[in-house]
C-alpha cells in the first residue's frame, strides 16, 4: 500500500521561521517515501492555510496530512477540521510540534532545522498506519450539581435555575451563605453584606428549580461528562426540615438556660445552646441540634423541654439518621470556597495567646449587628479600644507560610480601618508591605480611608509583645520598621487585627480526588487554562467558581460563578458532547480475564464481563491515558491513535538517520 502524504511546514510568522529553515525542511520532506506534496507556508492556521490543505487533498489526491507547526493543544482541532472538509477522515491527520518542542527551546538554527526534519520524518513513518476513526457522541443530562453554597454557589444556582435548569445545591454547613454571610460591609462600596446577600439566599430557598440540601456532603461521584451519578449524604440535624418554621421556641425552652457553647458562626466569639439557629437570616431557617452538646443525644436523659415547646409541629426527631440520596446530573460546578489562614501558625503575632489579638474575620463578626456584641467593637473587657493596629499580609507573601498574595486583604483591611475609625474613633495604624488596590473603585477607597486620618505605615510587623508581660489582656506594642521614614516604630495599641490570608479548604485534596480534578501545590483547584479556560477543569463537565480556584473578591467570584453557569448551560443546550476516539479497546480473543487492568485504570472505566470472562472498557469513561495498554500481560488492550505499529514506526522514523 502506498500513501500520498501531504506535508505542511508552518513558519508561524517568525516564531518558527527564525530558528528553523522552513523552506529547507519542506524540501527535505518532499524526498521522503510516500510524500506526494510538501510545502512551507507563513501561517497554516489562517483561512488561506486551511483552504490550501482542502484544495491539495482534492487536486493531488492526498490521503494523509501532516502539519508541522505549534502544539496540538492549540491547533490540532483546526487542522483535523480542514482535513475532514478536504474529504478524508480527520484522523488521517498528524500534527508535529516544531514550535514548543523545537524553535522556542533551541538556539542553534542549523541543529534546530535538523531536529524539525527528524520530527517530520517520524510522522511520515507513522501516518500510513493511521486508521479512519469516528468520534463518539454522548448525551448530556440537563440537571446540574453545585457543591458549596457560598455566594459563588448561590449565584451559579440562580443563573442556571432562572434558565430553567434543575439545580441541586449541596452545602456542608447548616445554612447557605458561606463567608459572605459573616461579613458586615463589603468593599469598596460599603454595601451591607447581608442586605445584598440574604435576598439571593431566600430566592434560592423558594426557587422551584433549586433543590437545596444543607448539612450535607457529597460522598461519591461516578460517571463522566453529561452522565454523572452522585451520592449525597444528608447528615442528621435532628430537626425535620419540612416541619420546622424557625420560631426559635425550642432554643428558648432548652434546659440550658444560658448559652454556654462556642458559637461556630461567630467563630467562638459568642455562645450558643445545643439547639440553635446559626444566625437570624439563616437559609433554611431551621434549627440544628448539635449531638456533641445535647444532653438527650449524649445521655438520653433529658427533660426534652424543646420537644414540649415545639408542641404540635413535632419537628424535633432525636432518632434522625443520615440519609443517602442518589442523583444523576450532567454537569457539576464546584464552589467549595476557602478557609482563613490559621493565625496561630505565626506565634509572634500572639493570636490565641494575647486576648486582644483578633483575625479580620473575628472583627467582621464584632462590628456586625447580628454578631455576639450586637455590633459594638469592644475589647475582651468590654471597653472600646483607643488604638488599633491592622497587620497586613498575615499568612500571605511569606515563604514560611504562603508565598502567594491573598488579593483581598489590603482592601478588607482598609475597610476595617474605616469601620473601626467610624465605630470607635480609635487611632488606626495599618502596617502594610505594598498596598494593592487594583479593582474598580479600590484606589479611590484607599484614598478616602487615608483621608480619614488612618495611619499608613509601610513595613511588615515583625513582633507583637505585651507592654506589661504579666498582663496578657493589656496593651500591646507592635514593632515594625517604617521603611519610608527609615526608623523603627514601636506603636502601643489596645487591639491588634490580623489581616489573615486565604487558604484552600483543609479537605481540598479529598474533594479533588473525589471529582477527579487537579490542584495547584497550594491546594487551589486548577483551571484548564489560566487565561482562556478559567472556569473549566481538566475533567469535562466539571467547572469551578469562586475561591476554591484561588483567592478572589466578591465581584470576581460572582463573575466567575456566572461564567461557570454559562459553560454548564452551553453543554446542556448542546444536548450532547463529542468524545475523542483515542480510547483503549480490548481484543476479546486475546484477553485472559486476569483483571490486572481493572484496578490500574485511574478513571474506573474498566469492568469485567462475567459471562465472557473478559475485561470491558467503557469508552465514555476512558480518557486514553494508556495505563491499561501497558499493564495488560497478554497484550490484549490496544489504544486508538496509539497502536504499537504507529508508535514503533514513529520511533523508527525519528531515529532513521542514527
Amino acid at each position: 500500500m502506498s500513501n500520498r502524504i501531504g506535508v505542511y511546514v508552518c513558519h508561524c510568522g517568525t516564531n518558527i521561521a527564525s530558528m528553523v529553515d522552513c523552506k529547507a525542511v519542506a524540501e527535505y520532506a518532499a524526498t521522503l517515501p510516500g510524500v506526494a506534496l510538501s510545502r512551507d507556508y507563513k501561517y497554516m492556521c489562517s483561512d488561506p492555510g486551511q483552504t490550501l490543505i482542502q484544495q491539495d487533498i482534492k487536486e493531488h489526491k492526498l490521503d494523509r496530512i501532516i502539519v508541522s507547526a505549534c502544539s496540538p493543544l492549540l491547533h490540532e482541532h483546526t487542522f483535523r477540521n480542514a482535513t475532514r472538509q478536504g474529504g478524508i477522515n480527520e484522523f488521517f491527520f498528524q500534527m508535529v510540534n516544531i514550535r514548543e518542542h523545537d524553535a522556542w527551546v533551541h538556539t542553534d538554527r542549523a541543529k534546530a532545522t535538523e531536529k524539525a526534519k527528524d520530527l517530520i520524518r517520524a510522522a511520515v513513518h507513522r501516518v500510513p498506519f493511521h486508521k479512519p476513526l469516528e468520534k463518539k457522541t454522548v448525551p448530556i443530562k440537563p440537571d446540574v450539581l453545585i457543591v458549596g453554597g457560598g455566594i459563588a454557589g448561590i449565584h451559579a444556582a440562580l443563573t442556571l435555575a432562572n434558565a430553567g435548569k434543575k439545580v441541586y445545591l449541596v452545602e456542608r454547613d447548616a445554612t447557605i451563605g458561606g463567608h459572605m454571610a459573616k461579613f458586615d460591609k463589603t468593599f469598596p462600596t460599603l454595601d451591607c453584606a447581608a442586605c445584598i446577600l440574604t435576598p439571593k439566599m431566600s430566592t434560592v430557598k423558594t426557587h422551584p428549580n433549586i433543590t437545596m440540601w444543607t448539612y450535607s456532603d457529597v460522598t461519591k461521584v461516578e460517571g463522566f461528562v453529561g452522565n454523572y451519578k452522585v451520592t449525597v449524604r444528608r447528615n442528621p440535624r435532628y430537626i425535620i426540615e419540612e416541619l420546622c418554621v424557625g420560631c426559635s421556641e425550642c432554643v428558648e425552652a432548652c434546659v440550658f438556660k444560658e448559652p454556654k457553647f462556642p458559637d461556630e458562626f461567630n467563630l467562638g466569639l459568642g455562645k450558643r445552646k445545643p439547639v440553635f439557629l446559626p444566625f437570624p437570616q439563616a437559609t433554611p431557617l431551621v434549627a440544628v441540634i448539635d449531638p456533641e452538646t445535647c444532653i438527650q443525644l449524649k445521655t438520653g436523659k433529658c427533660k426534652k423541654t424543646c420537644v414540649e415547646a415545639c408542641g404540635d409541629r413535632k419537628a424535633i426527631d432525636f432518632s434522625q439518621k443520615a440519609e443517602e440520596k442518589e442523583i444523576e446530573v450532567g454537569t457539576i460546578i464546584l464552589s467549595t470556597g476557602f478557609k482563613i489562614f490559621d493565625a496561630k501558625r505565626i506565634p509572634y503575632y500572639g493570636y490565641g495567646t494575647y486576648s486582644n489579638v483578633f483575625t479580620a474575620l473575628d472583627i467582621e463578626r464584632l462590628v456586625n449587628a447580628s454578631g455576639p456584641t450586637g455590633g459594638e467593637l469592644v475589647l475582651r473587657n468590654g471597653q472600646k479600644p483607643k488604638s488599633v493596629a491592622i497587620v497586613h499580609c498575615v499568612g500571605s507573601r511569606d515563604e514560611n507560610t504562603n508565598k502567594y498574595c491573598s488579593r483581598v486583604c489590603c482592601m478588607y483591611s482598609l475597610k476595617l480601618a474605616h469601620l473601626v475609625k467610624e465605630r470607635t474613633g480609635a487611632e488606626v495604624y495599618n502596617f502594610y508591605i505594598d498596598m494593592r488596590t487594583p479593582g474598580k473603585g479600590f484606589e479611590e477607597f484607599y484614598s478616602k480611608v487615608s483621608g480619614e486620618g488612618v495611619h499608613m505605615i509601610r513595613g511588615k510587623v515583625a513582633d507583637v509583645f505585651l507592654e506589661n508581660p504579666a498582663d496578657k489582656s493589656g496593651r500591646m506594642i507592635v514593632q515594625a520598621e517604617d521603611t519610608l521614614l527609615n526608623i523603627m516604630r514601636k506603636v502601643p495599641v489596645d487591639m491588634v487585627v490580623l489581616g489573615v490570608g486565604l487558604e484552600a479548604q483543609a479537605d481540598a485534596n479529598d474533594v479533588r480526588r473525589q471529582f477527579n480534578i487537579s490542584c495547584s501545590t497550594e491546594g487551589w483547584f486548577l483551571e484548564r487554562h489560566p487565561k482562556l479556560a478559567p472556569v473549566n477543569t481538566f475533567t469535562d463537565g466539571i467547572f469551578l467558581a469562586g475561591c476554591c480556584q484561588g483567592p478572589k473578591d466578591i465581584p470576581d467570584t460572582v463573575a466567575q460563578a456566572g461564567a461557570a453557569a454559562a459553560e454548564a448551560l452551553a453543554l446542556i443546550d448542546a444536548g450532547s458532547v463529542e468524545l475523542e476516539p483515542n480510547t483503549a479497546f480490548v481484543v476479546e480473543q486475546e484477553c485472559s480475564g486476569c483483571k490486572t487492568c481493572i484496578p490500574m485504570c485511574p478513571y474506573t472505566a474498566i469492568s469485567r464481563n462475567e459471562d465472557k470472562k473478559i475485561a470491558v472498557i467503557n469508552e465514555a469513561l476512558c480518557k486514553g491515558c494508556g495505563t491499561c495498554v501497558a499493564a495488560c500481560p497478554s497484550g490484549a488492550i490496544k489504544q486508538n491513535l496509539f497502536e504499537d505499529d504507529e508508535i514503533f514506526e514513529e520511533i523508527n522514523g525519528v531515529l532513521a538517520h542514527v
Partner: protein
C-alpha cells in the same frame, strides 16, 4: 574576557554557598530590621533592609562605610522570619569577609580588629585564647571600663577559669590543611 562583576554580583558571589534566596527577591518589608535586636535598638547606622536595598542599587561605598554587619549579633532572627527566604545573617558574614578581603574595613571599629585577631589565633593554634583576644579590643574602651575588665579577668584567672598559657590542639598540621582548603586566603602561614 567577562565583564568586571558589579558590586551586586560580587555580593551574590560571596553568598553563593548560602541556602537562602538571592538578594534580588527582597521586597523591602523591613521584617529583618524590626526583628533585629541590634537594629531595633538603634545601634546600626543602616538597617539590614537598607543594606540590601543599597547592595541592589550598587551603592558600594556606602555599604562598605556602614557599621551594620559589624554589629550583627548572629541571632538569625532575620533569617528565620524573612518572608522571601533570604539568609540575611549569612549576608552579614559575607559583607564582613568582603571588607576584610578587600582591606576596606573602617578605622576605629572593634569588629574588624576583633574578628581578625580571633581568626589569626585560630589559624595559629587551633584554639581561642581569651587574654590575647580581650586585649585586642580592650584599648578601645574607656579607663574605668578597662579597670573593670582587668578585675574580672584577674578573678577568673584566680578561679582557674582563664588559662595563663595559650592551648594548642593536637595535629595542628592537619587542621591547617583543612583551613587551606576552605579559606581562599592562600597559605595561613604566609
Amino acid at each position: 574576557m567577562a565583564d568586571k562583576p558589579t558590586f551586586r554580583e560580587e555580593i551574590a558571589g560571596v553568598l553563593h554557598a548560602s541556602t537562602g534566596n538571592p538578594l534580588d527577591v527582597c521586597m523591602q518589608c523591613g521584617t529583618c530590621s524590626a526583628t533585629c535586636p541590634v537594629a531595633s535598638g538603634g545601634f546600626m547606622d543602616n538597617s539590614p533592609r537598607r543594606i540590601i536595598a543599597m547592595i541592589n542599587a550598587g551603592l558600594k561605598e556606602r555599604v562598605l562605610k556602614s557599621n551594620t554587619y559589624w554589629y550583627c549579633a548572629s541571632c538569625y532572627h532575620c533569617t528565620v522570619r524573612c518572608p522571601r527566604g533570604i539568609d540575611i545573617a549569612e549576608l552579614m558574614y559575607g559583607l564582613k569577609r568582603y571588607t576584610v578581603w578587600h582591606a576596606k574595613t573602617q578605622e576605629g571599629m572593634i569588629g574588624p580588629v576583633f574578628s581578625e585577631t580571633f581568626v589569626k589565633m585560630i589559624v595559629r593554634t587551633g584554639r581561642s585564647y581569651e587574654p590575647v583576644l580581650a586585649t585586642s579590643y580592650l584599648f578601645t574602651l574607656g579607663v574605668p571600663e578597662m579597670i573593670q575588665e582587668a578585675q574580672t579577668a584577674t578573678s577568673l584567672m584566680l578561679k582557674g577559669r582563664l588559662p595563663l598559657l595559650p592551648a594548642r590542639i593536637k595535629r595542628l598540621d592537619n587542621f591547617k590543611k583543612v583551613l587551606k582548603r576552605i579559606i581562599p586566603l592562600g597559605d595561613p602561614d604566609e
